[in-house]
């Protein structure tokens, strides 16, 4: 039954998530800012740009996808300072939504008796497919 306890519980969980988010977002933004100011971001971006162009992302997108393997909050933090377009944000988020925190979740899946590595492989393939398909069907840049 819904009681006052339900609301208290929900608020508590929400505040917990905000704190958890801050723990990931602030360091991620900080790291990206350091990379940006030191000129390293440009070099990584230039190196990755030809590969990332297949899925419609700029070279910096590779870093966002990498941060997403720590946690989706990390990816959100890394995405903020980059100034991506609406299409790029949608593609980036779709990929991360499918394939995030893969190490942690492989452990969870393994623990419940299914094959975690198979699961991780399928998710990776689904993420690549998402990038390729969405890049083709979403209009705009």
């Amino acid at each position: 039954m819904i009681s006052n306890k339900t609301f208290a519980h929900g608020t508590k969980k929400g505040i917990k998530l905000i704190i958890e988010l801050s723990k990931y977002i602030i360091p991620s933004v900080f790291v990206i800012k350091i990379l940006e100011h030191s000129g390293l971001l440009e070099r990584v971006s230039g190196f990755m740009a030809p590969y990332m162009s297949y899925i419609g992302l700029p070279g910096e997108g590779a870093l966002v996808l990498l941060f997403g393997q720590v946690s989706i909050y990390g990816a959100i933090g890394a995405m903020l300072p980059l100034g991506l377009t609406a299409k790029q944000i949608t593609i980036c988020c779709s990929i991360i939504a499918i394939c995030h925190a893969i190490i942690l979740e492989t452990v969870i899946v393994n623990k419940s008796g299914a094959n975690g590595f198979l699961n991780a492989g399928i998710r990776f393939l689904a993420a690549v497919a998402t990038g390729l398909v969405l890049n083709l069907i979403i209009p705009g840049v």
Binding site: L21, L80, T90
Partner: protein, 158 residues
């Protein structure tokens, strides 16, 4: 490098987002708790029975799929582990279940978080559900193909 500038920019960018999320995340979690306590998950799991039937899973696993889909992978796998004690569910069925849940989980929370940073929620959600269904079916097809091959091989050997 100008460290003061880096600190200032970091705080500005993070604060803007975190502040926006406070307004979204707390009501969302209250809503999820309300749904949980009002028994809505049990009700909706009769709808997800269609998915379990399509994938050849036992009907009891519908609750696991529902919780995984709406709340998160950790909770979902907890429910599946409980279900495993009551119902006979083999490794292949578990793989099918987790292929679906692995691609498509915590859809309420993650969709809303990504929409706050500017993603198109409809595309995000639709793509995720389609990918989950598609890759689960692909896994099933490939698995049956190889099993039939193995059965033929043993038959030929006999």
């Amino acid at each position: 490098m100008d460290w003061m500038k880096i600190f200032a920019e970091t705080l500005e960018t993070s604060w803007n987002t975190i502040f926006k999320m406070i307004y979204i995340v707390i009501p969302l979690f209250i809503l999820i708790e309300c749904l949980k306590d009002s028994g809505w998950f049990e009700k909706i799991s009769s709808k997800t029975k269609k998915i379990t039937k399509l994938f050849g899973l036992p009907g009891e696993s519908a609750l696991g799929i529902t919780i995984g889909l709406l709340v998160g992978l950790t909770f979902g796998s907890g429910v599946v582990m409980q279900i495993k004690e009551d119902v006979n569910i083999n490794r292949v069925q578990l793989n099918i279940l987790f292929t679906f849940i692995g691609i498509c989980h915590a859809i309420i929370e993650e969709t809303i978080l990504f929409t706050t940073v500017g993603a198109n929620g409809a595309i995000l959600l639709l793509n995720r559900i389609i990918m989950a269904l598609a890759f689960t079916v692909i896994y099933m097809v490939i698995h049956t193909y190889f099993r039939q091959k193995a059965v033929k091989k043993t038959n030929a050997a006999m």
